[in-house]
């Protein structure tokens, strides 16, 4: 981002954008929407991590809720049992999640495609079952209650509005770091591994180290998000970290466009709002929801964030500039 020579209009865009973000809690007085927006922020963090893992490095994870849960439970337990502050607890939660990420990454190193999917699904389920059954620590299915609110300089973050600032500062940081990573050598190497692991290896890339790091990074994002989620909702129970939630994260990632950091935000906004907007349909809500998933998967192979070029192409067409890009069109039929 630094290397990018900001011209004045871009600067204005950025400032304006930040200003709009800062004003959101004042524009949206309805706490329900603010609540959703906060949730979106938390989801966004998880999905950013997932995008780095799935979109960039090409390792599909259907167990992201596991890391999310680990983050939530670790920090909540640390805060409740040891009286640690939110910030320290979050840090430790991130570390614990990262360690778990590395542990699951080791068997995952040798796995690809459906085999990796199975391993990650298994991981998520194992975590959930531990949460349900390890009653003395996790308090079982009912979960942890009365998770303390974070406080900053004596100011307790408890209202939706204050959570908004907490969450979105973290989200902004998360996006910033993710964008920096993705624009750096590390991000490049991740993509190289996704595109052709063998070629990357032949360029001297220690692919295993990078694959493990991708897992760790995604786990850290999910862990931090989980920690905030625990405080934000005040309760943490295994019901909030099921396989369906993992799948939900993956859907957000795919629908937003897993190969873009901003796609994470677009995806979490879209799916959260779609599922809330459909509430008036009552029982038929999920049918429509399923149909939307299906159609998005079919119609937008690159997710919503991949739609940019398509829009541009259309606008070019409207402008009569039918300038087709070099070699996009060659179709290779039936290549085995």
């Amino acid at each position: 981002m630094e290397r990018y020579k900001s011209s004045i209009p871009t600067c204005l865009y950025k400032l304006g954008f930040i200003a709009v973000i800062l004003c959101v809690p004042y524009i949206i007085r309805n706490l329900y929407y603010l609540h959703l927006i906060n949730l979106i922020g938390i989801y966004c963090l998880v999905v950013i991590g997932l995008n780095i893992l799935t979109g960039y490095t090409g390792q599909i994870s259907m167990g992201q809720a596991g890391f999310f849960a680990v983050g939530a439970y670790t920090s909540a337990l640390l805060m409740m049992k040891l009286g640690l502050s939110f910030w320290v607890a979050t840090l430790i939660a991130a570390v614990v999640a990262a360690v778990l990420g590395i542990i699951i990454a080791i068997p995952a190193l040798r796995l690809t495609g459906p085999y990796l999917v199975m391993a990650t699904v298994g991981f998520g389920e194992i975590i959930r079952l531990i949460l349900v059954n390890w009653v003395p620590v996790t308090r079982g299915a009912a979960g942890l209650t009365a998770i303390p609110a974070p406080s900053l300089f004596g100011f307790r973050i408890i209202s939706e509005k204050s959570f908004f600032y907490l969450i979105y500062i973290v989200v902004a940081l998360g996006i910033l770091i993710a964008v920096r990573i993705s624009n750096s050598k590390i991000g490049r190497t991740f993509i190289a591994i996704r595109e052709d692991e063998l070629a990357a290896k032949s360029m001297g890339v220690p692919t295993n180290t990078y694959k493990v790091s991708a897992f760790a990074i995604s786990a850290i994002y999910a862990g931090i998000a989980g920690s905030m989620f625990g405080c934000f909702s005040g309760v943490a129970s295994p019901d909030a970290f099921t396989f369906n939630d993992s799948v939900g994260f993956l859907c957000m990632s795919i629908i937003g466009g897993s190969r873009s950091i901003y796609g994470a935000f677009i995806g979490s906004v879209t799916l959260t709002f779609v599922s809330e907007l459909l509430r008036f349909m009552q029982l038929y809500r999920l049918i429509i929801y399923g149909a939307i998933l299906l159609l998005t998967a079919i119609l937008m192979p690159q997710g919503l964030s991949g739609m940019g070029p398509v829009f541009r192409k259309f606008s070019h067409r409207w402008k009569g500039k039918r300038r087709l890009h070099g070699n996009i069109q060659h179709s290779q039929r039936k290549e085995r």
Binding site: N327, H330, Q332, R333, K334
Partner: protein
């Protein structure tokens, strides 16, 4: 009987064929030779419909094949023995042969052809219960040819049948090709091994960089120094 008119094809965005013309006469062996990367295999892929030509016509009994699907092309009497054999590794030899006869319904005829194939390749008969993956390279090549013959094709396209085979087996393969021809089948043969190919071919075409640069009878070409040049870059 089969005629290619100025066929061009692109693969991965690059023009691989930039004007291949040739004609195959019934009952004869026609060989396409040329160095690696000359576009021999691509030519066959175009004929069988795995690749769609970007330009040109492929006429088979006055019918244009360029718009047809592979399965319809196969139905119309063309079969290909693919490069690298591509036998079904987990199927037995006899199942592989059955797959060759997939489009045929007449059990009696199939039976007849099967025993003919076994006659042609006695080793397949011995191995008929074995899975194809356990066969040696030469045996797999025999199987691939036998499988193609099971579809009772009017024309057999063969892509590098000698590739990766020990010299002794190469001789055997060419012997078989010659035998096939003698049963009245038409063969279009793509080979790197120019001398071998030309020695049994009635007619040959030399491809270089996606273009047919030479044609003639087998002996003509064999004695043509241009062929050596095309291969060895002298």
């Amino acid at each position: 009987m089969l005629e290619l008119v100025d066929v061009c094809a692109r693969y991965n965005g690059t023009e691989v064929l930039s004007g291949v013309s040739l004609s195959v006469e019934p009952g004869k062996i026609t060989a396409i030779i040329g160095a690696n990367g000359a576009g021999k295999t691509t030519t066959l892929r175009c004929i069988i419909g795995i690749l769609r030509p970007s330009k040109g016509k492929i006429l088979w009994r006055d019918r244009d094949l360029t718009a047809l699907d592979t399965k319809d092309i196969v139905k119309s009497g063309i079969t290909m023995v693919p490069e690298g054999r591509h036998v079904f590794p987990h199927m037995t030899v006899s199942e592989n042969l059955d797959m060759g006869a997939y489009l045929r319904r007449n059990i009696h005829e199939i039976k007849k052809d099967r025993s003919w194939v076994f006659e042609l390749f006695p080793v397949l008969k011995i191995r008929s219960g074995q899975t194809a993956g356990t066969l040696s390279g030469g045996e797999q090549q025999m199987l691939a040819v036998g499988r193609a013959l099971m579809s009772a094709p009017d024309i057999l396209l063969m892509d590098e049948p000698s590739m990766g085979l020990a010299p002794m087996l190469v001789d055997e393969v060419f012997h078989v090709i010659h035998q096939i021809k003698q049963t009245g089948k038409t063969v279009l043969l793509v080979e790197q091994n120019a001398v071998k190919a030309l020695s049994i071919a009635d007619k040959g075409y030399v491809l270089e960089l996606g273009l047919t640069i030479l044609s003639g009878t087998g002996t003509e070409l064999m004695n043509n120094p241009e062929v050596e040049r095309a291969y060895l870059g002298i």
